[in-house]
């Protein structure tokens, strides 16, 4: 079985190490991307505490919490899939990836309902915005930017998981390929970003 080994590598162990290493470096970059946005959020929150507390109470906390649970579970199934692939357990790998995809789709579906409810409540910044406080618009500007960027990352991750799952299903990619672990690492990052976004966007301002 040398199908997993690619140029320019001479050993699969080394190649696996490189895939993980490269992914970690890339995730460091991804962390900086969201860090820039979170910094912007922190600065704006410090400048306009009242508006941010007011606006924070308007987000759909039930849907956000449900999504947090869904996404954390999907990280579990993804971790199972990656470990199963490493151990060359085909059924467990396919099940894990299938569940991950389903949970990812569920997350996006819930997100979609949440966004449409936000739009109905006039929570998109601009004329006719629901809240009188001008800085509440800044909170929602960052809310829309960060949640949609996160959703785009979800879509990217789901594309990768679907592609790898399809290849594993058709036996076109050996399970020992390092790609499964790399995809799992990326999926966990998207999860971790959400773990930071959740308290910022849904829990702020809700303390009695």
């Amino acid at each position: 079985m040398s199908g997993a080994l690619r140029e320019p590598w001479r050993s699969l162990r080394r190649q696996r190490e490189a895939a993980a290493f490269g992914t970690w470096i890339f995730l460091g970059g991804e962390a900086m991307l969201f860090a820039g946005l979170i910094l912007a959020f922190a600065v704006m929150r410090a400048l306009h505490p009242a508006g941010f507390i007011l606006a924070g109470r308007e987000t759909e906390v039930a849907l956000g919490t449900a999504n947090t649970a869904i996404l954390l579970t999907s990280s579990l199934t993804m971790a199972v899939a990656a470990e199963a692939a490493r151990a060359e357990l085909r059924r467990a790998t396919l099940w894990g990836m299938g569940l991950t995809l389903a949970l990812g789709a569920a997350f996006l579906a819930v997100k979609g309902f949440e966004w449409s409810s936000d739009l109905e409540k006039h929570l998109f910044p601009g004329d006719g915005f629901a809240l009188a406080e001008p800085s509440a618009q800044i909170f929602f500007a960052l809310y829309w930017i960060m949640t949609s960027l996160h959703a785009m990352h979800m879509l990217g991750g789901m594309t990768v998981v679907a592609w790898l799952g399809w290849q594993a299903w058709r036996r076109a990619r050996p399970l020992r390929s390092p790609a499964f672990e790399a995809a799992a690492l990326y999926w966990h990052l998207v999860d971790i970003v959400w773990i930071v976004l959740y308290p910022l966007l849904y829990l702020g301002g809700r303390a009695p």
Partner: protein, 561 residues
């Protein structure tokens, strides 16, 4: 005593009947779908040449307009669009990718003794991303251009500008993806694909420089992506973040933008440090002075580069305490740069110097970079910066670093490794002439900017008082020489590909793994996987000066098992 060993033919030298990477496959598809790092380097070279001409056209328009104090070539808006074109293209589509994607792509696997980069297909993908980004940018420029300057300052860029800011921002984000992919690839290659025996402190300084650059690329570029996304969201979707009339903070934009764009200066200049180190040591026949400190200086610059962004904002109204801290840190980061300049000088000291064309570029670099760096210290001092902020003094300073530094080093590196890349030699007299012409053309173009800047000539103005005309005429005249010096190598290098004399494997008697394989290298770089048991530089025995009676390396580096 000097023990003279004749140069041993490199064990990897293969008979020239065996195909090189250039002849291994034929047809346009074998280039556009290649995963060979050497071919991708040439693809990048072609793309970068095109962008160099586009960015250069912007410079021509600017210098032509500034020849007289009145507006006579361009409208005011047209002038803004031209300097924006010049800045965006030259920074993101020429200087940032220049040395890493061409020389870096070609040389890193050769220098570490690998068959290819760690992720060859990602390497090709990053080229396509770059080309796509370039196409988007060119569309934005042709459709009407951008008038914000390359810095996209808010609220002008988000609210008032009439240009194609959204498309230009998108293009720069895409180019950033390409940059990040390249950086990840280099880091993984240098970490995990070094040949047996190639310890960290046996890496050539060029590889270290690319390592430092890649770190900055991967960690800084995403912040630019973030801030451009915020600009796009505000301009395209009306989501307020920076607009002060809706409670936003325009200074936040500057902080985030310069958090990338100051480290980006080091993305542009660090690779040059690597190139210059390789050239200086080879043509003075002397081992690099203070190799360890050169490495530490590269890492110091890469890390401290993240801590000085506020010196771009001394007149923005930021806290004076922040300004003091940023001023201090800007002096701190001058130290490793000075270490490098001193170490190059000490490498030259008592060396057996010959002035081949690459060496002329390198010596010119050291002088111009020193002036650029010292004027940077003036700008890091708050009282002087307040006086010369947004004047031609600043323009002069960063062109000394970017053009006198990075572009000189690019041309120097190209002429140094050209025989390895193409297997051909170019006419040395022409090359020497071009290198000297570049130095003088550069001086005439950019030195007057310090004087007129100090006297108060603001940057980005098309119309100016007549007292400045003498300096602008000098600068525009110098730019003609400089353009000639840039075009000449394109001519004789192209000539050499067809009619140049065949190059030996190691035409400069240089040391380092890349010189131990054939010129041009075979598809897999080395016929037998190299093993390394020495550092990269061995022009003379340890603890002795260079031999003044011979120019050969004192011992061969590669031993085949």
């Amino acid at each position: 005593m000097n023990h003279i060993t004749p140069a041993i033919p490199a064990p990897d030298a293969i008979p020239h009947e065996e195909p090189s990477y250039l002849t291994a496959e034929r047809g346009i598809g074998s280039w556009l779908l290649t995963t060979d790092h050497k071919r991708i380097a040439l693809l990048y070279m072609a793309a970068l040449t095109a962008f160099f001409f586009i960015g250069g056209a912007g410079a021509v328009a600017i210098r032509l307009e500034l020849f007289t104090p009145k507006a006579d070539v361009l409208t005011a808006d047209g002038y803004n669009r031209m300097f924006t074109l010049h800045g965006t293209v030259m920074i993101w589509f020429f200087l940032v990718p220049s040395i890493p994607t061409t020389l870096g792509n070609f040389l890193i696997p050769l220098m570490v003794g690998a068959r290819d980069l760690a992720f060859p297909r990602l390497n090709l993908l990053s080229w396509y991303l770059f080309i796509f980004a370039g196409a988007v940018l060119i569309y934005a420029l042709v459709a009407g251009g951008v008038d914000t300057g390359w810095t996209f300052y808010t609220p002008f860029s988000t609210t008032f500008s009439n240009g194609y800011v959204l498309l230009a921002g998108l293009a720069i984000i895409l180019a950033g993806f390409s940059s990040i992919a390249t950086g990840v690839n280099f880091l993984a290659t240098i970490h995990l694909l070094r040949a047996p025996g190639m310890g960290w402190f046996r890496l050539p300084l060029f590889a270290w420089a690319i390592y430092g650059t890649s770190l900055v690329m991967v960690l800084a570029t995403p912040v630019l992506t973030a801030v451009l996304l915020l600009v796009i969201a505000e301009r395209g979707f009306g989501l307020p973040v920076f607009d002060p009339s809706r409670g936003g903070d325009p200074l936040l934009f500057q902080h985030l933008f310069w958090f990338y764009s100051h480290p980006a200066v080091y993305i542009m200049i660090l690779p040059s440090f690597g190139v210059i180190s390789e050239i200086v040591t080879c043509f003075s026949r002397r081992n690099v002075f203070g190799y360890d400190f050169m490495v530490y200086a590269i890492l110091w610059i890469a890390i401290a580069g993240f801590l000085v962004w506020g010196h771009h904002m001394f007149v923005s109204g930021q806290s004076i305490y922040a300004s003091l801290a940023f001023s201090f840190l800007s002096f701190v980061i001058a130290v490793p740069s000075a270490i490098k300049v001193f170490n190059w000088t000490f490498t030259l000291y008592r060396g057996q110097i010959t002035f081949e064309a690459p060496m002329l570029y390198a010596v010119g670099f050291i002088g111009l970079f020193t002036i650029g760096g010292l004027t940077g210290l003036f700008l890091a001092s708050i009282p002087i910066d307040v006086h010369v902020s947004d004047t031609y003094y600043v323009v002069g300073h960063f062109h000394f670093i970017m053009v006198g530094g990075a572009v000189s080093a690019f041309y120097g590196g190209l002429s140094f490794w050209w025989p390895k890349i193409t297997g051909r030699k170019y006419p040395m007299t022409w090359a020497r002439f071009a290198a000297i012409l570049m130095f003088f053309g550069f001086g005439f173009t950019f030195f007057p900017m310090f004087i007129m800047g100090y006297l108060g000539m603001p940057r980005r103005y098309q119309v100016y008082p007549e007292e400045f005309q003498v300096w602008h005429v000098m600068s525009s005249a110098g730019a003609v020489l400089l353009a000639g010096a840039y075009l000449l190598p394109m001519g004789y290098l192209a000539w050499s590909v067809f009619w140049g004399e065949k190059a030996e494997d190691d035409p400069w008697n240089a040391t380092g793994l890349e010189w131990s394989t054939s010129s041009p290298p075979p598809r897999d770089n080395f016929r037998t996987p190299p093993e390394v048991d020495e550092g990269p530089y061995f022009y003379h025995p340890e603890g002795e000066g260079p031999g003044h009676d011979h120019g050969d390396p004192h011992r061969d580096q590669v031993r085949t098992p």
